[in-house]
Symmetry: C2
Subunit: 190 residues, 2 copies
């Protein structure tokens, strides 16, 4: 998606350890017209697949999921992160390792809103090692719902999570796929 790649090149900032900050337009300050275009692009790529619900994880996935759901004309659902010891029986839960924060947390969604028969598109802002996505996929599987695929805004291809999921047969569509980062540059996969 050229509009997004242009934004990344213009406003993204690269820090050591392959950190790409896009917090001026995607995950702290947010450009809603970009979200609207992202939503339309996912709706185009996954058209005709019967998607009836968009699933994401708080917090930075929510805006993306909301506009994607709007483009599909269906509801969205966001998994909550929790460190509560007592997980209710009314939720599906999965463990996710956060490499950024160096800890494991639980993600939960209410069983009421994720059902067998649902056709789920998962969306998120970043895909790196794939841990968050695997947690979300686990929630979909626990519900007996169908995973249509994953729509990712920025994939760090060199961290391997996306290609590992593709090798497992998951359809992963990334709007900007970065194959290489140095301390001063990044290269998109063609």
């Amino acid at each position: 998606m050229q509009l997004l790649k242009d934004k990344i090149l213009k406003y993204g900032r690269i820090y050591p350890d392959n950190i790409l900050k896009v917090d001026s337009f995607l995950n702290h300050q947010i450009d809603p017209s970009l979200l609207a275009e992202i939503g339309k692009e996912f709706a185009k790529r996954f058209a005709g697949e019967g998607v009836n619900k968009i699933l994401t994880i708080e917090a930075s996935g929510i805006g993306i999921a909301a506009f994607t759901a709007y483009a599909f004309g269906c509801p969205m659902l966001f998994a909550k992160k929790t460190q509560t010891k007592n997980i209710s029986s009314e939720v599906y839960t999965a463990k996710v390792m956060s490499y950024t924060h160096g800890k494991v947390y639980d993600i939960i969604v209410s069983k009421e809103f994720l059902k067998a028969g649902d056709k789920i598109l998962i969306v998120d802002d970043f895909l790196a090692n794939g841990a968050a996505l695997e947690g979300l996929i686990s929630l979909v599987e626990q519900a007996g719902a169908t995973l249509v695929g994953c729509g990712i805004v920025i994939e760090k291809g060199f961290q391997g999570g996306g290609d590992r999921l593709r090798a497992q047969g998951v359809r992963v569509e990334s709007l900007a796929l970065i194959d290489k980062m140095t301390d001063t540059s990044l290269t998109f996969r063609q």
Copy 2:
């Protein structure tokens, strides 16, 4: 806003201690067409005020803020909740008491995205005692920005936070203002 009140009456669920759950359409599963209407309504109510940024707090404010920002044609910014002991000098921070979770947390926004000269509309899903809103207002004041007002989806009028802020001169617009709740019913302010 009649569409919203109808949704609350039809899908909202009342629990003891004045808890109103709207997680089937507003803050867990989310109806994006409702968010779009909410955004347009805030843009109408605060038209002509020069709003150039929408501020909210994660997580359930994000979808609302994204569609409100889209209706205004301006960016949005969400404050992050953190329990980090070391707050960077690059952020504005405020303490917020969560009555729901019985603890105090810090909220932060990057100084880079909140500036003197900004005209800020704060939006959120709920207003009860006003603690979260006061934290957000503090961030706006620290930046020397102008607070245009607060757009709230559901205000629990009987908990007093909204009227206390109005008495301080803050313009608070709530799309559904509940004056009374019992274990089985709720009454909107006319």
